[in-house]
């Protein structure tokens, strides 16, 4: 009789402790599984009037399209055509947009994923070939195209901006930020050679940023 009583008491203790462990584990799991909101985004009903850009992970970096901005509008830089010329053996490529040439030193390993390409633009001829961006409709169309390229292929546009195209670019930039689209931009001062580069780091590492 006493053994049975002891056994039952022991069983009750074990069951009670097991349930208390279950409670503790449930509380811990609930706390740990709270989904953190991504940096730069908050849970709110209304979008702010001046939304701070939500930067993309730099690891998508290598896939870019390049655009030149002048007062006449946007001109795409034809990298595919240049790549074809390089494939055909040319080291200095003259195009209607300007001159492209490799800047690597002789000892640098060079391939499709590692190169430095210098670009001396011909601003006048670039402006002649520009896609006109003057009205809001044209800006919206351009932003729709960038949005589609990003959603389908993670292509992020990079803009080279001349002084004459700065005001137009300010409107494009604003429209792209309002659409939460990533972009890069750099000003091009007269006489400065631009460099388009690719290296293994861009594919392999992520920049440590507080984002």
């Amino acid at each position: 009789m006493s053994l049975r009583t002891d056994a039952e008491a022991g069983f009750v203790d074990i069951a009670a402790n097991a349930l208390s462990v279950l409670i503790l584990v449930t509380i811990i799991v609930l706390i740990v599984s709270i989904v953190p909101s991504p940096r730069g985004e908050v849970r709110a009903d209304n979008r702010p009037a001046l939304p701070f850009p939500v930067e993309i992970d730099p690891s998508v970096q290598p896939f870019n399209s390049y655009w030149y901005v002048t007062e006449a509008g946007l001109t795409p830089i034809p990298l595919r055509q240049i790549a074809q010329s390089v494939f055909n053996g040319e080291k200095v490529i003259e195009t209607v947009f300007g001159k492209f040439f490799f800047q690597n030193s002789r000892r640098t390993y060079r391939d499709v994923a590692e190169f430095r390409l210098g670009f001396v633009p011909d601003s006048k001829r670039i402006a002649e070939a520009a896609i006109s961006i003057s009205g809001e409709d044209e800006i919206e169309r351009a932003v729709d195209q960038f949005s589609m390229e990003f959603e389908e292929s993670y292509i992020v546009p990079t803009f080279f901006v001349e002084k004459s195209g700065f005001d137009i670019f300010a409107r494009i930039h604003s429209a792209m930020r309002n659409a939460d689209l990533p972009l890069r931009w750099v000003v091009r001062r007269p006489g400065v050679t631009l460099t388009i580069m690719r290296d293994a780091n861009q594919f392999e590492t992520r920049a440590a940023t507080w984002r």
Binding site: V12, S37, R43, L50
Partner: protein
Amino acid sequence: MERRTTLHLGYTALVDILLATLGIFVVVFALQTMKSDNPLVPAIADGLVICTATDDTPEALLLATREGSEIELRVPIDTRFSDVMRDTWPDGGRIWVAMSKDCAFGDAIEQLRAVESDLRILGEASAPYILTLAPLALDDIDDLIFRWRSDR
């Protein structure tokens, strides 16, 4: 009699824990039902810097909020600018830096990039700064300030 008392106390503890467990689950499920799923939207800009240049001298207008009231500051962009940024936003934050054409094509843009690297120096992990550089047409300054103030 004692044994029966002991057994009785044991079952009480078990029932106690059982009810506590049930209670936890009821509370959890009730909380999950009440929690509404707000969509994610971008965060607001904590500060605004507007860079303009007159006669090749870059100048910045800083707009910040401290204890509910707005602070407005006009300072030149020079080597001390990162200290001014730290004093204006001591806790860090997301700073929107708008640059006019003269600013972007002058020396100010290099100064601002240097300030951006300076503000990212480790050792101040408790006050992180993140800057975004944006082009600004001179006609849009008032609109930008209005949008920033709308979010306060």
